[in-house]
Symmetry: C2
Amino acid sequence: MAIDKTRSNGTATLYDVAERANVSGMTVSRVINGSAHVSEKTREKVMQAVEELGYQVNVAARVARVGTLRVGLLYSNPSAAFLSAFLVGAMGQCNRSGAQLFLEHCDDMKSQRKAIERLISQGVDGMLVPPPLCDSRSALKHLKEIGMPAVAVATAKPSPQVSAVRIDDYDGARTMTRYLIEQGHSDIGFIKGDPEHTPAQLRYQAFMDTMHEAGLNVPAERISQGLFTYRSGLLAARELLSQATRPTAIFASNDDMAAAAISVAHGLHLHVPDDIAIAGFDDTPVASTVWPELTTIHQPIGDMGSASVELLVELIKGRRSGEAPAIQHRLMPYTLEVRESTVGGGLAPAFTVQVGPQVS
Amino acid sequence: MAIDKTRSNGTATLYDVAERANVSGMTVSRVINGSAHVSEKTREKVMQAVEELGYQVNVAARVARVGTLRVGLLYSNPSAAFLSAFLVGAMGQCNRSGAQLFLEHCDDMKSQRKAIERLISQGVDGMLVPPPLCDSRSALKHLKEIGMPAVAVATAKPSPQVSAVRIDDYDGARTMTRYLIEQGHSDIGFIKGDPEHTPAQLRYQAFMDTMHEAGLNVPAERISQGLFTYRSGLLAARELLSQATRPTAIFASNDDMAAAAISVAHGLHLHVPDDIAIAGFDDTPVASTVWPELTTIHQPIGDMGSASVELLVELIKGRRSGEAPAIQHRLMPYTLEVRESTVGGGLAPAFTVQVGPQVS
DNA sequence: CTGAAAGCGCTTACAG
DNA sequence: CTGAAAGCGCTTACAG
């Protein structure tokens, strides 16, 4: 509850806090920035004043002093779902870190170079590279060559040369496959994703490995090639479901294709999940839009947004103080979301299984 | 192309420009802010220096001086598609206007008040209210009471008390209805949206009015109630398509329901658009995800994002200089996107019709 | 551990 | 029409 305010704006400044806590502005600055060289007593006094005044750092002022940190986001065709969740997370962290976020869109290779140039001319100090660009060797190489700090987001096979934030796609697909097997499925169809995207490769590999480990055979006709698009999912699902014998479950490499599979199943008058269980991957909004809702692997995209900004800011600051770039790969936790598309009888309630590395 | 740089950062400052143009920093500031009191000759000199140095204002510094403008975005459950497009537009304008964007999420009425309080304690000077909150009398009233400048986004019936940015939903639905009639349809089914949302009401009204004007009768069984969700679209479309005689086209109040209608049609082994044409509204990503792709009304959501920030910043600045709030309602242009879901035979290529007010 | 001074890049009055 | 000075709110060296 902010009550006592000073400026015309109504917000308290650093000095208001200093005055109230009977210390210098310097000391307040140290406290809010978590400096170690402050006595516990002073820290408490200051924190209390901060509370009482409802003080919030003026990020603009801090940034003006420290030197504006400008972060570029180079996006091409991520799904709107990905982009919005990612932006929410990234923006929050930008506000906290005092960075300014610049967006630049590009389609093909040519416009990619142009977009990078535009970001540079806007003075960005580093770039965030979400999918599918995160898997583009050329883009990453180009950034490396011009010495631009970068963080690849949601690539499944991060280059050791570049910092990255991602979930473990292999492990996620393995978890889903195991779950389906535990549900009693032994004949499972799989819809592959765009072979150009690294997550597609790992998800497929994990599916095959897990099936084999469980002693289950996967005939070639149970694998269908998709491209991550709804349209391709339609074709792939039709292939899987129009055979003499059908699988009892389909695991699609992403939600769009899983949604398409539901549509195909309904077209064939199959009940989902009683006749055919269907699972996706990503937990994009479409997963809870379609009916029945999709069992899927949830990626914490918002958290990945904030984590990637965090990494990038570290990278930039390190670079300014002349350190060698500290390449980091951050693995985020995913969850298995169980919903109606795999749970028959309308009995079992939807539930969530927390898996993957825990965030500290 | 920025070549000559000065600061460690690599970016040119106001004074670099001033030096190069042989004027004071003050004059540069005036030029880049479009002040009238600069001679044409000086302006040109300065602009040239700006070009040569690739100068970009340091928004953080400007904002630090002017007083941080903090803009809050109070969102509840807009679709991810809406949110991402809106954010891209809003953020761009925030960068230009030197505003900082704060996001706060809320679900129900209680958390709504809390979210508003959190934004206030973060020191925001005004708030953006996208759907569905833009139609919440209580939220808008609350903001009004505490004297918080606000802009309602994409409400169909804006209160004259609050600034708003929107498209003309009535006109859009009218355009779509006319288009379907021109395509030769006289028996058109309509899926209504959530009655709580103002756009749903106007879209329905426009459909009915336009049909009547064309001398076409709309029997009660051609109207089906939906709630804007995919699930509700499934039920509504089933209702429309399982009758003894079917309409030749369905106009759904939004894309999610139109996508559901396609799924139902396919389930009944109907060809879209040959057996049944289907149209949506909004042009969210699902419109070009499903197959066949949806004919729909495109809302320029990104532009609406930047326009709403623009309006809000004006409002805030006016308020600071003690003026009475200048309530504005900005109408944005929409377009009719014709795609495969209404165009049979695979002959006609997709096309776009520009309609609505033109932006200057 | 704490503080007085200077400065980040820009704009707001105030002069000319 | 143009500029010198002061200051936005904060942090970075530099002292104690």
